[in-house]
Structures are given as structure tokens and as C-alpha cells.
């Protein structure tokens, strides 16, 4: 999404942490691939994070335009 490709160690570090915090959960394996999906808690947290980022970006843009 951001155009950055995570290394396998970084990616699985993030997966382990998100699963520990019950923000994602595993789905059945598909041809040796292990998909994950957001849990209800994960959706709530993601929505809140994105709203914060959205507000932060809007405030930043307003400041820039006011200069």
C-alpha cells in the first residue's frame, strides 16, 4: 500500500505482535500461503489510527496552506 516491501523478519515480527495483541487472526492455509484477517478489535484500532493520521494530515496541510 505504501510502496515499501517489508523484509520477511520485519513482516513476521509485525504479524506475531499483531496476533499477540489480537488485532489479526489466521485464516485457513491456501496453497502453502497463510492469509490473515483483521479481527473486530483490529478494525476498531485501525479505524482510530487512520482517523488520527487523517486529522494529522489535514492539520498539517492547513498550516502549509496558511503560509
Amino acid at each position: 500500500m505504501s510502496g515499501t516491501r517489508l523484509g520477511p523478519g520485519t513482516l513476521y515480527g509485525a504479524i506475531a505482535r499483531l496476533e499477540r495483541e489480537k488485532l489479526i487472526e489466521p485464516l485457513p492455509v491456501e496453497e502453502r500461503r497463510q492469509p490473515y484477517r483483521l479481527t473486530a478489535k483490529g478494525l476498531r484500532v485501525l479505524r482510530a489510527k487512520l482517523a488520527t493520521l487523517h486529522g494529522f494530515a489535514r492539520a498539517g496541510l492547513r498550516k502549509l496552506e496558511a503560509r
Partner: protein, 310 residues
């Protein structure tokens, strides 16, 4: 990425992590191109997980009880050795021959140490054999290596003491209890600065050996399945251990009280230890460690008794 490299990289992660993610991570890595950046990234991830895993995976009550008994035993052993060397070959040992109360307190410590050893052996030997047997059966060499740490640490310390004693003329062994005090050192002992330096190394080896042994055996316990061991194996010896260490603590405390009454001047002379402390300070250190060991053993016994609720 080739299968051998993938296997080696996955092997860097903690065992608990591998149980959960090993298979899917293996498949994921196989589809990845093999380059230095990826390898370094996986090594970094493995190190990170190892650091995180240190405090994450909790022990069950059996393991917790066993670890507490181990700490209590090591603490009691260290305090007992210090107490023995505080008294041995000093005027305090002579005072014990003249005062029954002092001698009785000393014997209380000796009786407590025998009971504690019996309790530790009762639970320790069968559990040790179980851990070794299952570790060999499952080829868990990490567990075997951890169990080998305490004897190795003891051997290293002993080898150092023998080597240092030989190098310094063979008339003096570098223990932390025979350095300087309110006495004149025998003429065939090495100079004071040498005694300080060599004894400091022994002290560091003893402390490091005790700490590393406690950590290693705890990790071996945590990695072993003790769930088939019955509650009785833990509950009865853990209570005996807690009781006997408490007896030793009472013995040491009462010994200090009586020696203050009967041989106060000998109690307050500098005792020859590494830190130039008095017999009183050494006794105080033993008391503190004995009381801490009693608390840990009591906590271990409580944990073992609560097994019935599991």
C-alpha cells in the same frame, strides 16, 4: 531461497515462536530470493524475538514452584557457606565449645541444612532425571546444555582456585574469606595486593557461576514438560525445604544473638574477608540471604500446594 538456508534461519528463532509460526515462515522464506539483505533482516527478526521471549512465556505452577525451590536452595547454600567461613578457624569456633546455647544454634543450622538437602534431593533428583530423559528422547540439546552449566561453572571456579593456589606458592587458596583482617597473615602467604586480586576473581566467578546456573536451570525447567509429575512430588518436599531453610535462618539469627551476649569482642573484629568486613557484617549478610531464601521457599511451597486447583 534454498531449503538448507531457510532451515538454518528459522532455527534462529525461539522454540516457542517456531512452534506457532515455523511452518508458515518456512514456506514464506522459500518463495523469497536469497540475498544478504533478506538474510540480515531474518537474523535481526530472530534476535528481536529472542529478546522478547525472555519475559513472555510464563511457566506453569509446577515449573514455577521448582524454579523457586532452586533459587531458595542456591541462596541457602551461599548463605550457609558464608556463615561457615565466618566461624571456621576463628575465636568464635572456640567460644562455641564453652557455651551450650551457641553450640545448639550452630547445630540447628546443621540440622536444617541436612533436611534442606534431603528435600532438595527428593524433588531434584527425580525431576532432573525426567528432564534429562525427555531431553535426550526429544533430542533437545539446548536443555541438556543448560543443565550442564552448573557443574561447568563449579569446575571453572575450582580449576581457577587450584591454579591460583599453585601459582601463589601453594600455601594459600584464593577464597573471598581469607584476605585480610585483625590478624597477621602467615609469612608464606602471597602479598596482600595479590591476595586481594586473586580473591576478587574467585568472588566474581562464584557470583557469576551462581547467577548463570540459576538462569540456565530455570530455562531448562521452562523448556521441559513436568505436567505428568504428581502434586505430592512437589508439595511435600517444597514444604520440607521451606521449613528447613526457616530452621537454618532461625539458627543463624539465634547464633548471632547468643554470640553478642557471650563473645561480643570476637563478633566485632575484622574477619579476614574480601571486603574487610567484621564477623558481625558477615553474619548479617548470611541472615539477610537466609531470610530471602526462606521467603522464596515459602512462595515455592505455596505454588506447589495450589497445584490441586489446576
Amino acid at each position: 531461497m534454498n531449503a538448507r538456508l531457510v532451515r538454518q534461519l528459522v532455527g534462529l528463532y525461539p522454540q516457542e515462536w517456531r512452534t506457532r509460526y515455523g511452518e508458515e515462515f518456512y514456506s514464506f522464506l522459500e518463495t523469497h530470493p536469497s540475498n544478504l539483505r533478506t538474510v540480515l533482516n531474518v537474523i535481526g527478526g530472530a534476535m528481536h524475538e529472542r529478546v522478547l521471549s525472555l519475559g513472555r512465556f510464563k511457566m506453569d505452577r509446577r515449573q514455577n514452584s521448582l524454579a523457586l525451590m532452586l533459587y531458595a536452595s542456591l541462596g541457602a547454600l551461599a548463605a550457609g557457606i558464608n556463615f561457615y567461613w565466618t566461624v571456621d578457624d576463628t575465636p568464635l569456633a572456640a567460644a562455641m565449645r564453652n557455651y551450650l546455647a551457641l553450640f545448639t544454634s550452630w547445630n540447628l543450622v546443621r540440622a536444617g541444612s541436612l533436611l534442606a538437602f534431603a528435600a532438595f534431593a527428593t524433588v531434584g533428583i527425580p525431576v532432573f532425571l525426567t528432564i534429562v530423559r525427555t531431553a535426550f528422547a526429544a533430542q533437545r540439546w539446548d536443555v541438556v546444555c543448560r543443565l550442564a552449566v552448573p557443574p561447568c561453572a563449579a569446575l571453572v571456579t575450582l580449576a581457577w582456585m587450584v591454579a591460583a593456589a599453585r601459582l601463589s606458592g601453594g600455601h594459600w587458596v584464593p577464597t573471598p574469606w581469607d584476605v585480610t583482617g585483625d590478624w597477621t597473615a602467615p609469612h608464606d602467604w602471597p602479598p596482600l595486593a595479590t591476595r586481594w586480586a586473586l580473591s576478587s576473581v574467585t568472588f566474581v566467578l562464584m557470583m557469576a557461576g551462581t547467577i548463570v546456573s540459576a538462569i540456565s536451570v530455570r530455562q531448562a525447567i521452562r523448556r521441559s514438560d513436568l505436567s505428568k509429575r504428581r502434586r505430592l512430588w512437589f508439595a511435600a518436599p517444597s514444604m520440607l525445604l521451606a521449613g528447613s531453610i526457616a530452621v537454618m535462618a532461625i539458627g543463624v539469627l539465634s547464633w548471632g544473638w547468643f554470640v553478642q551476649q557471650y563473645a561480643a569482642s570476637d563478633f566485632h573484629v575484622r574477619d579476614g574477608g574480601l571486603f574487610s568486613s567484621t564477623n558481625f557484617a558477615s553474619w548479617m549478610a548470611s541472615c539477610i540471604v537466609f531470610l530471602a531464601a526462606t521467603l522464596m521457599a515459602a512462595k515455592g511451597a505455596r505454588s506447589a500446594l495450589s497445584l490441586k486447583t489446576e
